[in-house]
Amino acid sequence: MAKKLPPVDVVLVGFGWTGAIMAQELTEAGLQVLALERGGWRDTPTHFPTTVAPDELRFYWRHEMFQDTARETLTFRNNDSQTALPMRRWGSFLPGSGVGGSGVHWNGQTFRFLPSDFVAASHNTDRYGPLPEGMTVQDYGVTYDELETHFDRFEKLCGIGGKAGNLRGALQAGGNPFEGRRSDDYPNPPMEMTFAQKQFGMAARELGLNPFPAPSANMSRPYTNPLGVQLAPCTYCGFCEKYGCGNYSKAIPQTTILPVLMGKHNFTLKTHNEVLEITRDSSGRRATGVTHVDVHGEVFEQPAEIVILCAYPLQNARLMMLSGIGRTYDPRSGEGLVGKNYCYQVVSSVDVFYEDRYTNQFVGAGALGMVIDEYNGDNFDHAGLGFIGGGYLACWTTNARPIETHRTPEGTPEWGAGWKKAVKENFLKSTGVSTHGASMAYAQNRLDLDPTYTDVYGRPLLRMTYDFTPNDRAMTAYLTERATEIAKRMGGREIKVNAREGAYDSMPYQTTHNTGGTIMGSTPANSVVNRYLQSWDVPNLFVMGAGVFPQNAGYNPTGTVAALTYWAAEAIKSRYLPDPGPMVRA
């Protein structure tokens, strides 16, 4: 029998970026907010101070920051003809665990999606005709213009360094000319670029492209955010992604919100408490709270007026399925919506090797890069190309860590003395151009509950059915060709093309940009949540995170995830609280 706890106004399931933003916004509105986090407490000086942060063995190889697959993981298959098997070791993506979530170990590449990304279905249909058979792309139901001030808030919260390309409608030299209209510039200047970015910029300009510095959540200078929280200048140590930053130089919930939030009397955080189910009343139309279990196995019933899912997208979708809210998507019948439109990201790269120029890539930062956006979204004419969407091309210098980094030229043996020699010769003299492609939704790619495997509590694991699509393959081939054109002009001795070919492989790291499964849209017939991220079925239930993306754009998702969270928080405060109920009439 679960022990019933005193009710709260709001319970947040998961406490990463979206949980921290939501907690800050709703406590400011005077609500009593409780966050339940299944992982532990984490802060900079205790868990990743400079003295231990750059420990590759501990954090990358042994996955200290990531979800524990021995307790719960997901099963994976490429298509329905296969039997999904559990991922016992993370590979292609790395979901975080603990306070701050994956927001602790991100790189800090903080883009805004393009205005056309939010209306991908209608925009592309208008321009190129009907979508291909099986493609289930749809509009977000919210526009870039509606989200603009929320993007701006997140950039100021984080101290993003960058160069505006479109300031209140006026194009700015040196910025991204394709970006949506910005109400304000970035709060900080771009990071210092290295030799590699300068070569990329030069090559891109030769090709008539418009390179711009990547928007970065690694601080280009000391920054105090609007909450008074301080971020220190980045030291370019090259331990961002997969690591916590020891220098307070990367915007994470701990360095932007938590110092203020944790002191509030109307906020409570319970760590090591995993939510098992969203509970509902007999009508099924109202969430009564959640049940959660602590490390001792004791189960609690937590009543709440509002339930907000703030876990990783895969977890949010699974919790909806385990709680029986909405129907799980079935591609054969086309019925059901939970688990639909699972999307990812399609990445490739081209390495550049120099003979006598040092790139010194160990002097890096997670979001230190130059970018071009000519081949992203619908910034170029897709007529005759056989795909929609695109991606950015960038020259990043994120790191050169001794265990992880070993770029070698074409023809290098895969092991032994020849490999070692090549690693040694090229370690300090190489760079690359990477492509970061969109992922368009298709009917067969989806999430559901696995029929065989269960977690430590005996509940079904999430099952992922995913492979690259015809759109993905045509798009990545095109982007890789464009990257090759630039790489060839960067003044190196030789290049090596790492194209994305064959079936999606869940083992080699690609990106932790898993999207969809709890998608947003315009009607209960096409989406799990409405434009305010409010459940159509249960109006006092909200779902945050990239799970609401109907399809993934050619950018890193965090900026858009955060903007949507601020947007939803604003709607809850200004519309839902005065009149609790559906904010969009179906």
Partner: protein, 407 residues
């Protein structure tokens, strides 16, 4: 009818008197709250994370451990049975309700400078707090100090009761600052070196002290004083926000800022700065130049471990990571704080202005005694600093003391 009318009149007159008394009470309570804060009573009378003002915090004195009393108005374990006169006697003369001597760990040699109306106001404020029943443990003092009458002799030598008298030669701000520093603020409790009997050393007033294995810096801010380089504005900023261009507060000063100075009126902080700026120090002889080999080792250790925050030239990131060049803590002739911060790390106090508890990690597990001594020597002897060398033995000794832990 007439009768009841006159009764009504009398009644409303009475009501008026009560209201007036309440209004006076409010002013007194508010004044008392402010002074209680200015004196940081909460700091000593509250163990970390426990009920404010209910006492039992252990104070490590060179003579043994003294547990602070409960100053909420609980009748059994607190001040519930104390009268205003009892309280005045404690604050002004250092005597308990029963007439026994209080130990001077309770800073009555400073509080004696407070006028009666200020002391009464504190009493009025403490009386409004929720009484907490909490009995403190017995003090751990060796014979004969556990006999309270031994304090009598101490008082005869070191204590002179008397309310603060303004110096008519000085400005109003200077006098207000002097009152706050020497009276309720009791700054010299930490910042003045003590003699063998625990009383302030003559001629060392506010020139730096040592307590609980920390060295409190010299806070004289005139010529040759420890804070000579700090402007009045920078002193105010430090007390109000916990940071300024030169330094960040940590350890015991964290409590002072957190509970006390960040809540004080700007005019009072300015007054404190005016007073401190008027206190000159003594010129110090340059310390012996450290050995080249130690400086070379120290520079290498510094480059690997410290530059990410404190920057290769010791300039730090002002208000984020304190500069080491010119730092009063670094240049303190007593290197205890420098060594201790290297061993244990330190957390900059989070304040209303700067809520981030920016923290330096510990290096005690990573660097040995020789390495800590070398890097401490290096930072104390570079970029214009003249703190002097630190010996490995000093590091070893402090490690030992810290390993014993608090009582």
């Amino acid at each position: 009818m007439r009768k009841s009318a006159s009764f009504l009149v009398a009644g409303s007159a009475l009501l008026g008197a009560v209201e007036a008394a309440r209004a006076n009470d409010f002013a007194a309570v508010e004044r008392g709250r402010y002074l209680t804060q200015a004196g940081n009573c909460q700091g000593c009378h509250t163990p970390a994370g426990e009920e404010p003002f209910a006492g039992s915090r252990p104070l490590e004195t060179p003579f043994g451990v003294i547990y602070t009393p409960n100053i909420t108005f609980d009748t059994e374990t607190g001040l519930g049975r104390w009268t205003k006169d009892d309280f005045w006697r404690a604050m002004h003369e250092g005597k308990a309700k029963d007439g026994s001597q209080l130990y001077p760990a309770f800073p009555y040699p400073h509080f004696t400078k407070m006028p009666r109306e200020d002391v009464d106001a504190i009493y009025a404020y403490l009386a409004t707090l929720e009484p907490v029943r909490k009995k403190r443990p017995e003090n751990e003092l060796p014979f004969p100090l556990n006999w309270r009458f031994t304090v009598k002799g101490w008082n005869m030598t070191f204590f002179e009761p008397g309310v603060f008298r303004p110096d008519p030669e000085k400005s109003q701000a200077w006098n207000r600052g002097a009152y706050l520093v020497e009276g309720p603020g009791h700054c010299s409790g930490c910042h003045t070196e003590k003699n063998l009997l625990g009383a302030d050393k003559k001629g060392r007033h506010l020139a730096g002290g040592r307590l609980e294995n920390w060295s409190a810096p010299d806070i004289r801010a005139g010529r040759h004083g420890g804070l000579e380089k700090w402007s009045e504005e920078e002193i105010v900023e430090f007390l109000r926000t916990g940071r300024n261009a030169h330094s960040a507060a940590f350890s015991i000063m964290s409590e002072v800022i957190s509970y006390s100075t960040q809540h004080m009126a700007e005019a009072d902080l300015k007054a404190i700065a005016t007073y401190l700026k008027d206190l000159t120090g003594e010129e110090r002889a340059a310390p012996r130049k450290p050995a080249d080999a130690v400086m070379t080792a120290g520079a290498a250790i510094y480059l690997d471990n410290c530059t990410a925050c404190h920057v290769s030239d010791g300039s730090g990131v002002p208000r984020f990571f304190p500069p080491l060049a010119g730092s009063g803590k670094v240049n303190n002739p007593d290197p205890t704080t420098v060594i201790r911060v290297l061993l244990e790390g330190a957390r900059a106090v989070p304040t209303k202005t700067h809520p981030s508890p920016l923290t330096m990690p510990a290096f005690g597990w990573k660097l040995d005694d020789d390495e800590i001594a070398a890097v401490a020597t290096y930072v104390r002897s570079s970029w214009g600093n003249s703190g002097g060398a630190v010996e490995a033995d000093e590091v070893r000794k402090l490690r030992g003391l810290l390993a014993e832990g608090p009582p």
